[in-house]
């Protein structure tokens, strides 16, 4: 007996998710018991729609609304449940997606420790909110770990859970490989006071129109490279800028101050002292007092040793805690990640399935473009240079002025909140106003064809040009 909306009448086997995926029917009903996870991988070419029929379910900490359809494409993710649920999964191409149910027991699920962590943080937040001392700050949590250890998922979960309880945490992304509410190659921060759009990575940013799920307002700085060690000097300088702005926000916004920060970080390799240096820099700059290390005992041990006895600028102990990575972390290979970046750029200009955006195309002469190039500058002296902190006085050229050229074709450049005649440092330190994509370069006529989010003159804004995100050949194809 199957009645629409009454999942409990379904007699379907509860474990047959992946088997059912291959069956002829495009609609599958999946029952999850508490702590189970429905893990799915949808290619970019097809989509998967999930509806919560009954019970409660969440994706990365954000609860699904009952009966509402959520459509995913180009996603490797999971839906988990604490109380049990029934999901209805509809695919436009049943053969294309891959899914299975992970049947955890309570003592196996890494989510349990994540939830405990959240509750602990929530206790600290509530203490901060109640403290007589108006300067009391909520916890600043740094999430670290090697590649594919689920750092970003944990950061997202902690954020979503905090938001659900009425907090407004500041989310900071210090991983240039992927962007948070911004494009790859940037470091960014945003306050999350409202739900995230679970069908996207972190939700949307403002557009000229309204949004059904509240958008978040990011503050972004342009790094333009993939990994922090490609130009540690620039990276640290930007971290300091980001930290200064974040700290200002915290000090002026009590809701955010009590909620604290959740800081995501780039993949760390414990064998590279440079990586650990960067983490130490982040801890210092953001006064992080809790470091959660996922999936690597070595990183945990290294950091615990490094921070032992250290105190934050607020005089707190720095706690380092090692947790298991979620066994469900999907392997996302280079090709998949490249598509993810491409999708992020596409969405920035053109919107997503829910909302179409109309970017503007402009034809600009070389003479009215001021571009600066961010180059790699590996830290050759890091071995003997103990100084973790960026010294503004020691700046040499981290960015250099360049003429537009063929090389810019298919590149995504950042438009900076600075003036074209500002010194390089000011431009480099400015925050990002937006991005443009170079669709065509005519060196003979000395003209550029530029895709910009807003159909208006760029004005006297300098452009920063890095190598990350890489040129996207098929963006308009």
């Amino acid at each position: 007996m199957s009645i629409p909306g009454l999942g409990q009448f379904s007699s379907a086997a509860t474990t047959a998710a992946s088997a059912a995926a291959a069956s002829a029917s495009a609609i599958t009903t999946i029952s999850l018991q508490p702590f189970w996870e429905y893990r799915f991988e949808v290619p970019f070419s097809s989509s998967l729609t999930i509806r919560l029929l009954s019970g409660t379910a969440e994706k990365d900490g954000t609860e699904l609304a009952p009966k509402n359809p959520y459509t995913f494409s180009g996603t490797k993710s999971k839906i988990n449940t604490w109380l049990g649920c029934e999901l209805e999964v509809t695919s436009d191409n049943p053969g294309a997606y891959d899914a299975y149910t992970a049947e955890h027991a309570a003592d196996e699920s890494p989510l349990v420790s994540y939830l405990n962590l959240h509750m602990k943080l929530e206790g600290l937040r509530s203490t901060a909110a109640k403290a007589m001392n108006t300067e009391a700050m909520g916890p600043r949590v740094l999430v670290v770990g090697p590649d594919a250890s689920g750092k970003t998922s944990l950061a997202k979960m902690l954020t979503a859970w905090a938001t659900r309880m009425g907090r407004q945490p500041l989310v900071v992304n210090t991983d240039p490989t992927e962007g948070i509410l911004s494009l790859p190659g940037t470091l960014s921060a945003a306050v999350f006071a409202t739900l995230m759009d679970v069908t996207t990575e972190w939700g949307g940013t403002p557009t000229s129109g309204p949004a059904g799920i509240p958008v978040k307002l990011p503050l972004a700085y342009y790094y333009g490279l993939e990994r922090p060690d490609q130009n540690p000097k620039l990276f640290r300088s930007l971290l300091s800028r980001l930290a200064a702005a974040s700290t200002s926000r915290l000090s002026e916004d009590p809701d955010v101050r009590h909620s604290g920060m959740v800081i995501d970080s780039a993949a760390v390799d414990a064998s590279k002292p440079g990586d650990l240096d960067i983490l130490a820099h982040i801890v210092a700059e953001f006064s992080a007092n809790i470091v959660v290390s996922l999936g690597s005992e070595r990183v945990t041990a290294e950091l615990a040793r490094r921070f032992a006895g250290q105190k934050t600028s607020l005089g707190e102990e720095i706690a380092v805690v090692g947790l298991d990575k979620s066994s469900g972390v999907a392997e996302r290979d280079a090709a998949f990640m490249q598509r993810v970046r491409e999708k992020a750029i596409k969405e920035y200009f053109f919107g997503d399935a829910k909302k179409n955006l109309s970017p503007g195309t402009q034809n600009i002469g070389f003479e009215s473009v001021t571009a600066w190039k961010v180059a790699e500058a590996p830290d050759s002296t890091s071995a003997e240079d103990d100084d973790d902190f960026y010294d503004p006085g020691a700046t040499d050229s981290v960015v250099e002025k360049v003429e537009p050229s063929d090389m810019m074709l298919n590149c995504t450049l950042a438009v900076m909140y600075a003036g074209t005649r500002d010194p390089p440092d000011a431009i480099r330190d400015a925050n990002v106003m937006g991005f443009v994509y170079i669709t065509d370069v005519d060196e003979k006529k000395k003209r550029l064809k530029v895709l910009a989010p807003v159909n208006a003159r760029l004005g006297d804004r300098p452009l920063l040009w890095g190598s990350w995100p890489e040129p996207m050949v098929s963006l308009l194809g």
């Binding site: 009645i3 909306g5 009454l6 999942g7 409990q8 508490p34 729609t49 029929l53 009954s54 019970g55 609860e63 609304a65 009952p66 009966k67 359809p69 459509t71 604490w82 109380l83 049990g84 649920c85 029934e86 003592d107 349990v112 420790s113 405990n116 509750m119 602990k120 206790g123 859970w161 659900r164 911004s182 006071a193 409202t194 739900l195 940013t205 403002p206 129109g209 309204p210 949004a211 059904g212 509240p214 307002l217 702005a245 809701d255 706690a319 805690v321 090692g322 298991d324 200009f349 919107g351 970017p359 503007g360 438009v415 909140y417 600075a418 003036g419 925050n431 990002v432 106003m433 807003v454």
Partner: protein, 658 residues
């Protein structure tokens, strides 16, 4: 896709809201929507039942007719969804409408017990176990009145009345009464707990594991065996006194004592939950009343029903307890007599009930019947009228207490919220070893729950089942649009209202925005970002004036005046006619749009609000004390900075002078 769903539901709700009269066309239309959206049956049935609950008394009957039309013309799955909460929906509506409407509801109820006329399906519209509790409750209420009233009610109920809107070929009520009730005369005796049927779906664990569970006597149905004759047609009149001593006060007291014990235990577990505290208080008060007063049977029945519902709530494991949905029920607000402990039937069925019944000597088509005067009065201002015969509303009043119980969310199990569709068989696997060791039970605080968690892997890995509910039901039911949770206390309700308002407005704007092109906005600049304050579910366009009253955390920018950035390209490039400078464009999250801050539109021309004030002198002081003149051109960078400061300062000044 989501927006489409919301759209059709919105349509359905709108159409419901507009349904004032028994309009055949509108009811058919709503039925059509329901027929075409059976995959959304749950949402629709919830929307309709919520509407019936919320609607003004005079709009309840048309809405009930919609329900009737849907179950008769569409059938499953609606019958199942409506059936779950039918008892509550029906009884709450019944309690708040006038006598004339009640009789129509009686007629309708009668048709529900029978197959749809002309249909080959011989099953009744609603299963007997859905309709029987309603009938029982109605009879109980009637039985508590005097004999004469009951005799009067009998003939009134069997009045054949056409229901004009229906599609079904045969008017459902045009049947002899003997047939309408006959099926139940020889029917099975009432199953214990039959009145709990709407609660039963929550899959309580076996009662035995709860020490506070009451002995069988208290467990029994509100209809004790003595009541079996009540299944005969009510106008039979032969069971008169036999039905009276049905509920023993002692058993009830025992029940309440058991619940008090249970809630005390619950309170010790969840000291942070104010609802438990209020429930406990209400129970203690109720106990006091029972001891002090000798209540009439009908009151006892009502209390008993409440207690039964409550017992289900407390018995269900917390992980599964549906979130409380307070019910507003006019009859509960009506202050019945405190002076006269004997609460009359009037307080339950409304004053003038008797008169209305007497006036209804013969059946007349309902739509055209003029309302008997007393009933009409009852419609216009129900609570005061009902309270008329009584002078004072003492706190010791049992009905008021029931109201309190409802308010405190004790009726939870009876009215599952939309988000709490039960998942039986799943939840029992969550072990609930309450309370876990090391958790102090002290004043409500997050620390009490997290104090035992340490920042080490071992401590963090330990599953603490009591934390899970804090992420779910403790936060209230979910918004059906986006899944956000809202508590059911006053503040939560306020937030929920603002939130639904926000959804509504944004959906409207999305529809508008789809007509014109949209584009990604530039990110804001550092200073603006730092000064941004998140606003949740606020719509500043709606209330631009209240910003001066709100504190820093909720006001996005210090500026009070802004207008949406004009779409007209000419206007878009316009400058302030006074200072000849451009307008500063910022993104206002709560407005969901880009706006020009510090701008006002005066007779089609846009000015800086501050410039305009300076010139017109609307606000004393600003014109003279503002040291900033806006006429000096500055280099690009400097200007940006200067303007930021300027805007901030201007805003501040305005806040001071406003």
């Amino acid at each position: 896709m989501a927006s489409q769903d919301e759209g059709f539901l919105e349509d359905f709700r709108d159409a419901l809201e507009g349904l004032q009269l028994n309009s055949r066309f509108e009811i058919q239309n709503l039925t059509m929507i329901a027929r075409e959206s059976t995959e959304e049956a749950l949402v629709i049935s919830q929307a309709l039942q919520d509407h019936i609950k919320r609607a003004a008394p005079h709009k309840k009957l048309p809405a009930l007719y919609v329900l009737d039309s849907i179950v008769k013309n569409v059938g499953t799955p609606y019958t199942i969804f409506f059936g779950k909460r039918l008892y509550n929906t029906f009884m709450e509506a019944y309690a708040s409408v006038d006598m004339a409407t009640r009789r129509k509801m009686d007629e309708m109820l009668k048709t529900w017990k029978e197959p749809i006329p002309g249909s080959i399906d011989t099953r009744p519209v609603f299963a007997p176990d859905v309709t029987r509790p309603i009938e029982n409750a109605l009879m109980q209420a009637r039985a508590s009145g005097n004999q004469q009233l009951r005799r009067m009610m009998g003939p009134g109920r069997q009045m054949p009345q056409g229901v004009p809107y229906r599609d079904s070929p045969t008017p459902p009520a045009a049947r002899p009464p003997s047939q309408s009730n006959g099926g139940y005369i020889g029917g099975p005796p009432p199953i214990p707990g039959v009145n709990n049927a709407p609660y039963g779906q929550h899959g309580q664990p076996p009662p035995a594991q709860y020490p506070y569970h009451q002995p069988p006597s208290s467990q029994s149905t509100p209809q004790p065996p003595a009541n079996i004759p009540a299944f005969q047609p009510p106008y039979h009149g032969s069971y008169g006194m036999a039905a009276q001593p049905t509920i023993s006060t002692d058993a009830l007291k025992e029940d309440i004592q058991g619940l008090i014990t249970a809630f005390r235990a619950e309170f010790a577990r969840n000291p942070q939950d104010p609802s438990i505290q209020s429930k406990l208080k209400a129970l203690l008060d109720l106990q006091g009343i029972l001891q002090a007063q000798n209540l009439p049977q009908d009151q006892l029945v009502l209390i008993k029903n409440q207690i039964a519902g409550l017992a289900v709530t407390i018995r269900a494991p917390p992980a599964q307890t549906p979130t409380p949905v307070p019910i507003s029920q006019p009859v509960a607000v009506a202050p019945p007599p405190a002076a006269a402990p004997k609460v009359s039937i009037d307080s339950i069925l409304g004053s003038g009930a008797l008169a209305a019944l007497l006036a209804r000597g013969s059946g007349t088509p309902q739509a055209s019947t003029p309302q008997p005067p007393p009933a009409t009065v009852a419609i216009r201002s129900p609570p005061p009228q009902r309270a008329e015969p009584q002078q004072s509303a003492a706190p010791a009043d049992p009905m008021a207490l029931l109201g309190m119980l409802r308010k405190a969310g004790m009726l939870t199990a009876a009215t599952p919220s939309s988000g709490s569709t039960p998942v039986p068989s799943l939840t029992p696997t969550v072990p609930l070893p309450f309370p876990p060791p090391g958790i102090p039970t002290g004043p409500p605080s997050m620390d009490n729950f997290t104090g035992d968690i340490a920042f080490n892997a071992l401590s963090l890995k330990q599953f603490r089942p009591h934390l899970v509910p804090l992420m779910f039901e403790a936060l209230g039911p979910q918004c059906t649009h986006c899944g956000r949770r809202f508590k059911t206390d006053d503040e939560g309700k306020k937030k929920k209202m603002a939130h639904m308002d926000w959804h509504f407005k944004v959906n409207q704007r999305i529809a508008e925005a789809e007509k014109s092109g949209q584009h990604r906005s530039w990110f804001v600049d550092e200073t603006d970002w730092i000064n941004t304050r998140e606003t949740i579910d606020e719509d500043r366009i709606a209330a631009p004036g209240d910003a001066s009253g709100t504190q820093g955390s909720s006001s996005k920018t210090p500026n009070l005046h802004y207008i949406p950035v004009p779409s007209d390209p000419v206007l878009k490039n316009s400058v302030c006619p006074i200072c000849q400078e451009n307008f500063k464009q910022i993104y206002l999250d709560d407005a969901g749009d880009w706006v020009w801050e510090d701008a006002i539109n005066v007779d089609g021309r846009i000015y800086h609000a501050s410039c305009h004030q300076e010139v017109t002198g609307n606000v004393a002081g600003v014109g003279t004390s503002n040291p900033y003149t806006r006429g000096t051109p500055e280099p690009v960078l400097g200007k940006r900075k200067a303007e930021d400061e300027l805007a901030g300062l201007r805003g501040k000044m305005k806040l001071e002078t406003a």
